[in-house]
Symmetry: C2
Subunit: 231 residues, 2 copies
Protein backbone atom coordinates (compact mmCIF):
# COMPACT_ATOMS: atom_id res chain seq x y z
CA UNK A 1 0.00 0.00 0.00
CA UNK A 2 2.92 2.39 -0.58
CA UNK A 3 2.62 5.69 -2.43
CA UNK A 4 -1.12 6.06 -2.59
CA UNK A 5 -1.79 9.70 -3.47
CA UNK A 6 -3.84 11.66 -0.95
CA UNK A 7 -6.20 12.60 -3.79
CA UNK A 8 -6.99 8.88 -4.20
CA UNK A 9 -8.03 8.71 -0.53
CA UNK A 10 -10.28 11.75 -1.00
CA UNK A 11 -11.83 10.04 -4.02
CA UNK A 12 -12.41 6.80 -2.07
CA UNK A 13 -14.35 8.89 0.43
CA UNK A 14 -16.43 10.30 -2.44
CA UNK A 15 -17.08 6.81 -3.88
CA UNK A 16 -18.23 5.66 -0.46
CA UNK A 17 -20.64 8.58 -0.20
CA UNK A 18 -22.02 7.73 -3.67
CA UNK A 19 -22.44 4.05 -2.68
CA UNK A 20 -24.42 5.15 0.39
CA UNK A 21 -26.70 7.24 -1.82
CA UNK A 22 -27.16 4.32 -4.25
CA UNK A 23 -28.01 2.05 -1.33
CA UNK A 24 -30.53 4.60 -0.03
CA UNK A 25 -32.13 4.46 -3.49
CA UNK A 26 -32.19 0.63 -3.39
CA UNK A 27 -29.73 0.40 -6.29
CA UNK A 28 -27.69 -2.75 -5.76
CA UNK A 29 -25.34 -2.78 -8.77
CA UNK A 30 -22.91 -0.18 -10.06
CA UNK A 31 -19.90 0.00 -12.38
CA UNK A 32 -16.72 2.01 -12.63
CA UNK A 33 -18.40 4.02 -15.43
CA UNK A 34 -21.41 4.77 -13.23
CA UNK A 35 -19.28 5.67 -10.19
CA UNK A 36 -17.04 7.79 -12.42
CA UNK A 37 -19.94 9.79 -13.84
CA UNK A 38 -21.36 10.44 -10.41
CA UNK A 39 -17.97 11.40 -8.97
CA UNK A 40 -16.94 13.54 -11.93
CA UNK A 41 -13.81 11.51 -12.75
CA UNK A 42 -12.92 8.92 -15.38
CA UNK A 43 -13.77 5.22 -15.12
CA UNK A 44 -10.04 4.49 -15.43
CA UNK A 45 -9.44 6.64 -12.35
CA UNK A 46 -12.08 4.74 -10.36
CA UNK A 47 -10.54 1.38 -11.25
CA UNK A 48 -7.04 2.63 -10.48
CA UNK A 49 -8.09 4.07 -7.10
CA UNK A 50 -9.82 0.84 -6.07
CA UNK A 51 -6.93 -1.32 -7.30
CA UNK A 52 -4.64 0.13 -4.60
CA UNK A 53 -6.64 -1.83 -2.06
CA UNK A 54 -7.35 -5.13 -3.80
CA UNK A 55 -9.71 -6.61 -6.33
CA UNK A 56 -13.32 -5.58 -5.97
CA UNK A 57 -16.05 -6.72 -8.34
CA UNK A 58 -15.78 -8.98 -11.35
CA UNK A 59 -14.34 -7.85 -14.68
CA UNK A 60 -17.15 -6.74 -16.98
CA UNK A 61 -19.73 -7.35 -14.24
CA UNK A 62 -19.33 -4.21 -12.17
CA UNK A 63 -19.75 -4.05 -8.42
CA UNK A 64 -22.35 -5.08 -5.86
CA UNK A 65 -23.16 -1.87 -3.98
CA UNK A 66 -23.32 -3.22 -0.38
CA UNK A 67 -20.17 -5.33 -0.85
CA UNK A 68 -18.10 -2.50 -2.32
CA UNK A 69 -19.43 -0.17 0.36
CA UNK A 70 -18.44 -2.63 3.12
CA UNK A 71 -14.96 -2.99 1.62
CA UNK A 72 -14.42 0.78 1.44
CA UNK A 73 -15.66 1.14 5.02
CA UNK A 74 -13.05 -1.42 6.05
CA UNK A 75 -10.26 0.17 3.97
CA UNK A 76 -10.97 3.58 5.50
CA UNK A 77 -11.05 2.19 9.05
CA UNK A 78 -14.69 3.16 9.58
CA UNK A 79 -15.72 -0.23 10.98
CA UNK A 80 -14.27 0.70 14.36
CA UNK A 81 -15.31 3.21 17.00
CA UNK A 82 -13.48 6.56 17.09
CA UNK A 83 -13.68 8.50 20.33
CA UNK A 84 -13.63 12.21 19.56
CA UNK A 85 -13.24 15.41 21.57
CA UNK A 86 -14.18 18.83 20.17
CA UNK A 87 -12.15 21.87 21.23
CA UNK A 88 -14.27 25.02 20.80
CA UNK A 89 -18.03 24.80 21.32
CA UNK A 90 -19.17 28.07 19.75
CA UNK A 91 -21.47 28.08 16.70
CA UNK A 92 -18.96 26.04 14.68
CA UNK A 93 -18.33 23.41 17.36
CA UNK A 94 -22.07 23.02 17.86
CA UNK A 95 -22.64 22.70 14.10
CA UNK A 96 -19.97 19.96 14.04
CA UNK A 97 -21.47 18.14 17.04
CA UNK A 98 -24.84 18.18 15.26
CA UNK A 99 -23.59 17.43 11.74
CA UNK A 100 -25.68 14.53 10.46
CA UNK A 101 -24.05 11.19 9.81
CA UNK A 102 -20.99 11.20 12.08
CA UNK A 103 -22.55 8.62 14.41
CA UNK A 104 -23.28 6.34 11.40
CA UNK A 105 -19.53 5.85 11.23
CA UNK A 106 -19.00 5.38 14.92
CA UNK A 107 -17.43 8.77 15.43
CA UNK A 108 -18.49 9.21 19.05
CA UNK A 109 -18.19 12.54 20.82
CA UNK A 110 -16.86 11.78 24.30
CA UNK A 111 -15.73 15.25 25.44
CA UNK A 112 -16.51 18.89 24.55
CA UNK A 113 -14.18 21.72 25.60
CA UNK A 114 -14.15 25.51 25.52
CA UNK A 115 -12.60 28.45 27.39
CA UNK A 116 -15.74 30.63 27.48
CA UNK A 117 -17.39 30.63 30.93
CA UNK A 118 -20.72 31.24 29.17
CA UNK A 119 -20.40 27.89 27.36
CA UNK A 120 -18.61 25.76 29.97
CA UNK A 121 -21.17 23.75 31.93
CA UNK A 122 -23.78 23.76 29.11
CA UNK A 123 -25.05 20.34 28.09
CA UNK A 124 -24.74 19.58 24.38
CA UNK A 125 -25.70 16.17 22.98
CA UNK A 126 -25.68 14.72 26.47
CA UNK A 127 -22.19 16.00 27.36
CA UNK A 128 -21.25 18.82 29.72
CA UNK A 129 -18.84 21.31 28.14
CA UNK A 130 -15.58 21.37 30.13
CA UNK A 131 -12.75 23.88 30.43
CA UNK A 132 -9.97 23.09 27.99
CA UNK A 133 -7.47 23.06 30.87
CA UNK A 134 -9.19 19.84 32.01
CA UNK A 135 -8.29 18.08 28.74
CA UNK A 136 -5.06 16.40 30.01
CA UNK A 137 -6.91 14.97 32.99
CA UNK A 138 -9.78 13.87 30.74
CA UNK A 139 -7.47 11.99 28.34
CA UNK A 140 -5.78 10.24 31.29
CA UNK A 141 -9.13 8.73 32.26
CA UNK A 142 -10.83 8.31 28.87
CA UNK A 143 -9.71 6.87 25.53
CA UNK A 144 -9.57 9.72 23.01
CA UNK A 145 -8.66 8.84 19.42
CA UNK A 146 -9.31 12.09 17.58
CA UNK A 147 -9.60 15.79 18.34
CA UNK A 148 -11.60 18.28 16.28
CA UNK A 149 -10.52 21.92 16.47
CA UNK A 150 -13.29 24.53 16.15
CA UNK A 151 -11.69 27.53 17.85
CA UNK A 152 -10.95 30.98 16.37
CA UNK A 153 -7.92 31.00 14.01
CA UNK A 154 -5.54 32.60 16.52
CA UNK A 155 -6.27 29.84 19.06
CA UNK A 156 -5.98 26.86 16.68
CA UNK A 157 -2.23 26.24 17.04
CA UNK A 158 -2.48 26.20 20.86
CA UNK A 159 -5.50 23.91 20.70
CA UNK A 160 -3.54 21.50 18.48
CA UNK A 161 -0.56 21.58 20.84
CA UNK A 162 -2.90 20.88 23.76
CA UNK A 163 -4.34 17.86 21.97
CA UNK A 164 -0.89 16.51 21.07
CA UNK A 165 0.37 17.08 24.64
CA UNK A 166 -2.67 15.13 25.86
CA UNK A 167 -1.66 12.24 23.59
CA UNK A 168 -4.19 12.69 20.75
CA UNK A 169 -2.62 11.66 17.42
CA UNK A 170 -5.39 12.51 14.92
CA UNK A 171 -6.59 16.10 14.49
CA UNK A 172 -9.32 17.51 12.26
CA UNK A 173 -8.78 21.25 12.03
CA UNK A 174 -11.76 23.41 11.11
CA UNK A 175 -9.94 26.72 11.65
CA UNK A 176 -8.60 28.53 8.56
CA UNK A 177 -4.93 28.21 9.56
CA UNK A 178 -2.21 25.71 8.75
CA UNK A 179 -1.27 23.85 11.95
CA UNK A 180 2.51 23.60 12.33
CA UNK A 181 4.22 20.71 14.12
CA UNK A 182 6.61 21.76 16.88
CA UNK A 183 10.20 21.62 15.67
CA UNK A 184 13.43 21.28 17.58
CA UNK A 185 16.97 22.08 16.54
CA UNK A 186 19.05 18.94 16.47
CA UNK A 187 22.60 19.05 15.12
CA UNK A 188 21.93 22.37 13.40
CA UNK A 189 18.81 21.06 11.61
CA UNK A 190 15.18 21.80 12.42
CA UNK A 191 13.46 18.50 13.13
CA UNK A 192 9.86 17.71 13.97
CA UNK A 193 9.63 16.99 17.70
CA UNK A 194 8.98 13.39 18.76
CA UNK A 195 5.44 13.91 20.05
CA UNK A 196 4.39 15.45 16.70
CA UNK A 197 6.03 12.82 14.51
CA UNK A 198 3.05 10.47 14.42
CA UNK A 199 0.38 13.19 14.43
CA UNK A 200 -2.02 13.34 11.49
CA UNK A 201 -3.68 16.69 10.76
CA UNK A 202 -6.52 16.89 8.24
CA UNK A 203 -8.28 20.13 7.45
CA UNK A 204 -11.88 21.08 6.82
CA UNK A 205 -11.49 24.67 5.74
CA UNK A 206 -14.56 26.61 4.65
CA UNK A 207 -12.40 29.34 3.10
CA UNK A 208 -10.37 26.82 1.09
CA UNK A 209 -13.63 25.55 -0.38
CA UNK A 210 -14.71 29.11 -1.20
CA UNK A 211 -11.36 29.81 -2.91
CA UNK A 212 -11.46 26.61 -4.99
CA UNK A 213 -15.01 27.52 -5.98
CA UNK A 214 -13.96 31.04 -7.02
CA UNK A 215 -11.13 29.62 -9.15
CA UNK A 216 -13.27 27.02 -10.93
CA UNK A 217 -16.19 29.39 -11.42
CA UNK A 218 -13.76 31.67 -13.27
CA UNK A 219 -12.07 28.74 -15.05
CA UNK A 220 -14.78 26.13 -15.61
CA UNK A 221 -12.81 24.56 -18.49
CA UNK A 222 -10.15 23.48 -15.95
CA UNK A 223 -12.60 21.42 -13.92
CA UNK A 224 -11.90 17.73 -14.46
CA UNK A 225 -14.99 16.42 -16.19
CA UNK A 226 -15.88 12.78 -16.65
CA UNK A 227 -14.97 11.18 -19.95
CA UNK A 228 -17.31 8.39 -20.88
CA UNK A 229 -15.23 5.28 -21.40
CA UNK A 230 -16.12 1.67 -21.97
CA UNK A 231 -15.99 -0.56 -18.93
Amino acid sequence: MADIPTAAISRLVTYLRILEQLEAQDISRTSSTDLAERAGVTAFQVRKDLAYFGRFGTRGMGYTVPILKRELVRVLGLNQTWNVVIIGMGRLGQAIANYPGASDYQFQYVGLFDVNPGIIGQRIRGLTVQHVQDLPDFTRHNRVDLGFIAVPPDRAQDAAQGLVDAGVRGILNFAPVVIQPRTLERGGLQEISDEWRAVIVENVDFLAGMKRLAFYTLNPHLKETPTLTEE
Copy 2:
Protein backbone atom coordinates in the same frame (compact mmCIF):
# COMPACT_ATOMS: atom_id res chain seq x y z
CA MET B 1 -3.60 26.50 -18.46
CA ALA B 2 -4.88 23.10 -19.59
CA ASP B 3 -4.83 19.96 -17.46
CA ILE B 4 -4.05 21.42 -14.09
CA PRO B 5 -4.93 18.73 -11.52
CA THR B 6 -7.55 19.71 -8.96
CA ALA B 7 -5.07 18.69 -6.24
CA ALA B 8 -2.74 21.45 -7.50
CA ILE B 9 -5.52 24.02 -7.01
CA SER B 10 -6.10 22.74 -3.47
CA ARG B 11 -2.37 23.09 -2.81
CA LEU B 12 -2.32 26.67 -4.20
CA VAL B 13 -5.02 27.47 -1.65
CA THR B 14 -2.81 25.97 1.08
CA TYR B 15 0.24 27.96 -0.10
CA LEU B 16 -1.84 31.13 -0.02
CA ARG B 17 -2.93 30.40 3.54
CA ILE B 18 0.71 29.83 4.55
CA LEU B 19 1.76 33.10 2.89
CA GLU B 20 -0.93 34.92 4.89
CA GLN B 21 0.43 33.42 8.10
CA LEU B 22 4.01 34.39 7.15
CA GLU B 23 2.84 37.93 6.42
CA ALA B 24 1.07 38.06 9.80
CA GLN B 25 4.42 37.09 11.36
CA ASP B 26 6.21 39.86 9.38
CA ILE B 27 8.23 37.29 7.43
CA SER B 28 8.85 38.78 3.99
CA ARG B 29 10.87 36.07 2.24
CA THR B 30 10.18 32.40 1.65
CA SER B 31 11.35 29.58 -0.60
CA SER B 32 9.88 26.49 -2.20
CA THR B 33 11.64 24.44 0.50
CA ASP B 34 10.08 26.54 3.26
CA LEU B 35 6.60 26.49 1.68
CA ALA B 36 6.96 22.74 1.10
CA GLU B 37 7.83 22.00 4.73
CA ARG B 38 4.93 24.08 5.99
CA ALA B 39 2.49 22.52 3.52
CA GLY B 40 3.74 18.96 4.00
CA VAL B 41 4.72 18.41 0.35
CA THR B 42 8.01 18.37 -1.56
CA ALA B 43 9.77 21.50 -2.80
CA PHE B 44 9.56 20.05 -6.32
CA GLN B 45 5.78 19.89 -5.95
CA VAL B 46 5.62 23.55 -4.89
CA ARG B 47 7.66 24.67 -7.89
CA LYS B 48 5.61 22.50 -10.26
CA ASP B 49 2.29 23.80 -8.89
CA LEU B 50 3.38 27.43 -9.20
CA ALA B 51 4.81 26.87 -12.67
CA TYR B 52 1.33 26.19 -14.08
CA PHE B 53 0.59 29.87 -13.63
CA GLY B 54 3.81 31.58 -14.62
CA ARG B 55 7.20 32.42 -13.21
CA PHE B 56 7.21 33.65 -9.63
CA GLY B 57 10.37 34.51 -7.74
CA THR B 58 13.96 34.32 -8.89
CA ARG B 59 15.92 31.10 -9.23
CA GLY B 60 17.93 30.49 -6.08
CA MET B 61 16.47 33.62 -4.45
CA GLY B 62 13.08 32.33 -3.34
CA TYR B 63 9.94 34.41 -3.19
CA THR B 64 8.86 37.75 -1.74
CA VAL B 65 5.88 36.89 0.49
CA PRO B 66 3.54 39.81 -0.39
CA ILE B 67 4.27 39.51 -4.11
CA LEU B 68 3.68 35.75 -4.27
CA LYS B 69 0.56 36.20 -2.14
CA ARG B 70 -0.78 38.89 -4.50
CA GLU B 71 -0.13 36.65 -7.50
CA LEU B 72 -1.93 33.68 -5.95
CA VAL B 73 -4.86 35.92 -5.01
CA ARG B 74 -5.06 36.99 -8.65
CA VAL B 75 -4.70 33.43 -10.01
CA LEU B 76 -7.50 32.19 -7.73
CA GLY B 77 -9.81 35.08 -8.67
CA LEU B 78 -9.91 36.45 -5.13
CA ASN B 79 -9.21 40.04 -6.17
CA GLN B 80 -12.84 40.50 -7.16
CA THR B 81 -16.07 40.63 -5.18
CA TRP B 82 -18.17 37.47 -4.96
CA ASN B 83 -21.82 37.94 -4.02
CA VAL B 84 -22.98 34.92 -2.04
CA VAL B 85 -26.32 33.56 -0.84
CA ILE B 86 -26.59 30.89 1.87
CA ILE B 87 -29.40 28.34 1.69
CA GLY B 88 -30.09 26.95 5.17
CA MET B 89 -29.60 29.19 8.21
CA GLY B 90 -29.59 26.63 11.03
CA ARG B 91 -26.50 26.14 13.20
CA LEU B 92 -24.37 25.27 10.17
CA GLY B 93 -25.50 28.22 8.03
CA GLN B 94 -24.89 30.56 10.95
CA ALA B 95 -21.43 29.06 11.55
CA ILE B 96 -20.66 29.66 7.85
CA ALA B 97 -21.97 33.24 7.92
CA ASN B 98 -19.73 33.91 10.94
CA TYR B 99 -16.66 31.95 9.76
CA PRO B 100 -13.72 34.30 10.07
CA GLY B 101 -11.90 35.50 7.00
CA ALA B 102 -14.52 35.23 4.25
CA SER B 103 -14.87 38.99 4.00
CA ASP B 104 -11.07 39.37 3.66
CA TYR B 105 -11.52 37.80 0.23
CA GLN B 106 -14.52 39.82 -0.74
CA PHE B 107 -16.97 36.96 -0.33
CA GLN B 108 -20.01 39.08 0.51
CA TYR B 109 -23.18 37.56 1.88
CA VAL B 110 -26.06 39.28 0.08
CA GLY B 111 -28.94 36.92 0.89
CA LEU B 112 -29.79 34.30 3.54
CA PHE B 113 -32.56 31.76 2.97
CA ASP B 114 -34.36 29.04 4.95
CA VAL B 115 -37.71 27.24 5.05
CA ASN B 116 -38.13 27.29 8.84
CA PRO B 117 -40.69 29.93 9.98
CA GLY B 118 -38.74 30.17 13.26
CA ILE B 119 -35.65 31.40 11.37
CA ILE B 120 -37.23 33.41 8.52
CA GLY B 121 -37.34 37.08 9.47
CA GLN B 122 -34.38 36.86 11.89
CA ARG B 123 -31.57 39.32 11.25
CA ILE B 124 -28.12 37.73 10.88
CA ARG B 125 -25.07 39.81 9.98
CA GLY B 126 -27.31 42.66 8.92
CA LEU B 127 -29.48 40.57 6.58
CA THR B 128 -33.06 39.39 7.09
CA VAL B 129 -33.46 35.64 6.49
CA GLN B 130 -35.91 35.08 3.62
CA HIS B 131 -38.00 32.11 2.52
CA VAL B 132 -36.17 30.02 -0.06
CA GLN B 133 -39.16 30.36 -2.42
CA ASP B 134 -38.19 34.02 -2.76
CA LEU B 135 -34.76 33.09 -4.18
CA PRO B 136 -35.74 33.34 -7.91
CA ASP B 137 -37.16 36.82 -7.34
CA PHE B 138 -34.08 37.79 -5.32
CA THR B 139 -31.67 36.71 -8.06
CA ARG B 140 -33.67 38.68 -10.65
CA HIS B 141 -33.03 41.87 -8.70
CA ASN B 142 -29.57 41.19 -7.21
CA ARG B 143 -26.31 39.90 -8.64
CA VAL B 144 -25.59 36.51 -7.06
CA ASP B 145 -22.33 34.77 -8.00
CA LEU B 146 -22.22 31.85 -5.61
CA GLY B 147 -24.59 29.82 -3.46
CA PHE B 148 -23.61 27.97 -0.27
CA ILE B 149 -25.78 25.00 0.71
CA ALA B 150 -26.15 24.35 4.46
CA VAL B 151 -29.41 22.38 4.56
CA PRO B 152 -29.99 18.82 5.86
CA PRO B 153 -28.70 16.09 3.51
CA ASP B 154 -32.12 15.15 2.14
CA ARG B 155 -32.74 18.77 1.09
CA ALA B 156 -29.37 19.46 -0.54
CA GLN B 157 -30.19 18.27 -4.08
CA ASP B 158 -33.36 20.43 -4.18
CA ALA B 159 -31.44 23.41 -2.82
CA ALA B 160 -28.84 22.96 -5.57
CA GLN B 161 -31.52 22.71 -8.25
CA GLY B 162 -33.14 25.88 -6.88
CA LEU B 163 -29.83 27.74 -7.11
CA VAL B 164 -29.19 26.53 -10.67
CA ASP B 165 -32.76 27.39 -11.73
CA ALA B 166 -32.16 30.87 -10.27
CA GLY B 167 -29.08 31.22 -12.46
CA VAL B 168 -26.34 30.62 -9.86
CA ARG B 169 -23.38 28.83 -11.46
CA GLY B 170 -21.06 28.25 -8.50
CA ILE B 171 -22.16 26.11 -5.54
CA LEU B 172 -20.35 25.28 -2.31
CA ASN B 173 -22.08 22.27 -0.78
CA PHE B 174 -21.69 21.72 2.96
CA ALA B 175 -24.17 18.82 3.13
CA PRO B 176 -22.73 15.28 3.19
CA VAL B 177 -24.23 14.24 -0.15
CA VAL B 178 -22.93 14.24 -3.71
CA ILE B 179 -24.96 16.77 -5.72
CA GLN B 180 -26.00 15.31 -9.09
CA PRO B 181 -26.50 17.45 -12.19
CA ARG B 182 -29.88 17.02 -13.87
CA THR B 183 -29.59 14.70 -16.87
CA LEU B 184 -31.77 14.39 -19.95
CA GLU B 185 -32.06 11.57 -22.44
CA ARG B 186 -30.94 12.69 -25.86
CA GLY B 187 -30.61 10.17 -28.69
CA GLY B 188 -30.62 7.28 -26.23
CA LEU B 189 -27.80 8.76 -24.11
CA GLN B 190 -28.06 10.45 -20.73
CA GLU B 191 -26.66 13.95 -21.07
CA ILE B 192 -26.16 16.69 -18.53
CA SER B 193 -28.92 19.29 -19.01
CA ASP B 194 -27.92 22.65 -20.46
CA GLU B 195 -28.47 24.71 -17.30
CA TRP B 196 -26.16 22.38 -15.34
CA ARG B 197 -23.38 22.26 -17.93
CA ALA B 198 -21.52 25.32 -16.65
CA VAL B 199 -22.25 24.71 -12.96
CA ILE B 200 -19.30 24.22 -10.61
CA VAL B 201 -19.95 22.33 -7.37
CA GLU B 202 -17.28 22.23 -4.68
CA ASN B 203 -17.78 20.38 -1.42
CA VAL B 204 -16.92 21.14 2.18
CA ASP B 205 -17.83 17.87 3.82
CA PHE B 206 -17.15 17.42 7.53
CA LEU B 207 -17.65 13.66 7.27
CA ALA B 208 -15.19 13.38 4.38
CA GLY B 209 -12.59 15.06 6.58
CA MET B 210 -13.38 12.68 9.43
CA LYS B 211 -13.03 9.67 7.11
CA ARG B 212 -9.69 10.85 5.68
CA LEU B 213 -8.50 11.41 9.23
CA ALA B 214 -9.58 7.89 10.29
CA PHE B 215 -7.70 6.39 7.32
CA TYR B 216 -4.47 8.31 7.91
CA THR B 217 -4.54 7.81 11.66
CA LEU B 218 -4.62 4.05 10.96
CA ASN B 219 -2.08 4.35 8.12
CA PRO B 220 0.28 7.19 9.07
CA HIS B 221 3.03 5.80 6.81
CA LEU B 222 0.81 6.61 3.79
CA LYS B 223 0.64 10.32 4.61
CA GLU B 224 2.72 12.26 2.12
CA THR B 225 5.51 13.77 4.15
CA PRO B 226 7.87 16.50 3.06
CA THR B 227 11.26 15.48 1.75
CA LEU B 228 13.89 18.08 2.39
CA THR B 229 15.45 19.02 -0.93
CA GLU B 230 17.82 21.73 -1.97
CA GLU B 231 16.27 24.77 -3.62
